[in-house]
């Protein structure tokens, strides 16, 4: 075999390895984003499970908040329907966050409810889940940022172009969530 042929084979093998590494790293990043979205979904489901309990407990005391409670219940049943796009899901969950925040503010005027053991436990679970949701969103954003870096940075961007991978959007804190933070301050987080 001539030297040129050997060099040519060497170059080809090297090129194949480079393509493989780039391809795998991009797929890895893409899967991480999906995985992170799944993690977030799991946390959101935990919150759906809590809502009926919360509604029934609050109902017993807070007689004037029926409208608010009905709103949360209907939002929840929309959310668990399943055939929703990711964007719709996110939008619905923002609304749920906002409504739950409003309930927690309304509760302030019912001292009996605030002293109820069952309610206190629910409130603690809800705080915990909100914190977990926020953690999973940050994890999702980190995965998306990592993926976007892969899509836009050299040399993976060339590969990403060929694989037709597009930038993904990170979560932005919506207006309702900012309100949510203020509710948090009420509890002196």
């Amino acid at each position: 075999m001539s030297d040129t042929l050997l060099v040519l084979i060497g170059v080809l093998v090297l090129a194949a390895i480079i393509v493989m590494v780039l391809y795998n790293s991009l797929i890895g990043k893409k899967n991480q984003v999906e995985n992170a979205f799944g993690g977030m979904d799991a946390m959101l489901k935990k919150r759906y499970d809590l809502i009926p309990n919360l509604v029934s407990t609050v109902q017993q005391y807070a007689t004037h908040e029926r409208e608010l409670l009905e709103k949360v219940t209907s939002l929840r049943s929309q959310a668990i329907q399943g055939n929703l796009s990711n964007d719709d899901k996110v939008e619905l969950d923002n609304q749920i966050s906002g409504a739950l925040g409003q309930i927690m503010v309304a509760v302030e005027s019912y001292p009996d409810l605030k002293a109820n053991e069952n309610f206190l436990q629910l409130q603690a679970s809800l705080n915990e889940i909100e914190e977990q949701i926020s953690a999973s969103r940050r994890a999702y954003n980190a995965a998306v940022t990592d993926y976007n870096n892969g899509v836009e940075m050299f040399p993976t961007n060339i590969m990403a172009g060929m694989m037709n991978l597009k930038r993904k959007k990170v979560f932005e804190i919506t207006e309702t969530e900012r309100q949510n933070l203020n509710v948090g301050e009420l509890f002196q987080r």
Binding site: A36, G39, M43, Q121, Q123, A124, S125, N127, E128, E131, Q132, S134, A135, S136, R138, A139, N141, A142, A143, T145, D146, F187, Q188, R189
Partner: protein
């Protein structure tokens, strides 16, 4: 929280009278020890002279060397016998009072320590060498508000053995960690581990450092966690077995609090969150909470330093808001 002024008042009214008594004991020890020390030096000089003069004689050099070793060992034993009751009483009385002053729910035991098993639970060994030698003292335990806390001075080392050309093996011990080691009951329930270490690579090497850390994470059970707070990222590197748990534990507000704490303390901090507990190491070079022997005890700065180190446990609970129990863990 006990302030510096309150501590100064405690020092004047309560600690100083005790220190005066211990100062007398200390002077007594020095008085007894100095003549012995002078005698030791005189004998050592004589033995060295003997060694030099008679090094060609048959048995004199050996006699001289053996005597030197026996004498040195003897004086060490004598010194520790002389000082140990003084140290023990000082710790129980003075350091104990400082601990109770900080919080009466805290109990102090000068001889106990955080155990190696407790240290191992922190999983620091995933990123540090495995511990071969473990020692510690000055143990404090109690409940600060709703947060259970224990800490002690610890000293962890690992050993290396080398064989030289003559076939002699030589074992050397190297420091892994020396300083105060804390265990807190964390205010959130979680499984798995998240480890926060000072970040050297990223600070000095930037993006390339981050790549190195990510490879390093592959060698252990964890993965690198990239957090959204750039200032926090510059100071610390975070590894965890779960990206979501890591962020659940390190909430945005806790990251801020940790940064502030670390900057005020002006020392490195090592943290590990494992199964609902927070483990924290703060390196300290010197041996803490020991009374002086050859310097006066009546030194406010010395006692204040003991107070400041003992106060750290409480500072951490307050600064990291560990008593906030709004989640399901009460």
């Amino acid at each position: 929280m006990a302030t510096q002024e309150q501590f100064q008042a405690l020092y004047e009214t309560h600690l100083k009278p005790k220190l005066v008594v211990f100062e007398e004991q200390r002077k007594g020890i020095v008085k007894k020890f100095v003549p012995v020390l002078i005698g030791y030096f005189v004998l050592m000089i004589l033995l060295v002279l003997l060694l030099v003069k008679a090094y060609e004689e048959s048995y004199w050099p050996i006699v001289s060397i053996i005597s030197m070793i026996v004498l040195s060992g003897g004086i060490l034993i004598y010194y520790s016998k002389l000082v140990s009751p003084y140290t023990k009483n000082f710790k129980t009385d003075v350091v104990g009072s400082i601990v109770t002053f900080i919080d009466e729910n805290l109990a102090y035991n000068p001889e106990k320590t955080i155990t190696l098993a407790e240290f191992r639970a922190s999983q620091f060994e995933e990123y540090w060498p495995s511990v071969d030698s473990w020692a510690g003292e000055d143990y404090v335990e109690g409940l600060l508000g709703k947060t259970a806390v224990k800490f002690s001075e610890v000293h962890a080392q690992y050993k290396t053995t080398t064989v030289n050309s003559k076939g002699h093996t030589r074992t050397t011990y190297h420091n892994i960690f020396k300083g105060l080691f804390f265990i807190f009951d964390f205010n959130k329930d979680f499984d798995g581990f998240t480890i926060v270490l000072p970040d050297y690579a990223e600070r000095h090497l930037g993006q390339f450092g981050k790549m190195l850390q990510s490879w390093k994470a592959n060698l252990t059970h964890g993965e690198l966690v990239k957090l959204a707070d750039p200032e926090f990222e510059r100071e610390f590197v975070v590894y965890s077995d779960n990206q979501i748990t890591a962020r659940y534990v390190l909430s945005t507000s806790l990251m801020r609090r940790l940064l502030t704490f670390r900057r005020q303390l002006n020392k490195q901090v090592y943290l590990s969150f494992v199964n609902g507990k927070l483990y924290m190491g703060i390196p300290v070079d010197k041996d803490l909470f020991e009374p002086t022997v050859f310097k006066t005890l009546l030194d406010f700065n010395l006692i204040r330093e003991f107070f400041e180190y003992m106060q750290l446990g409480k500072d951490i609970v307050d600064d990291l808001n560990l008593n906030t129990r709004i989640w399901s863990k009460q």
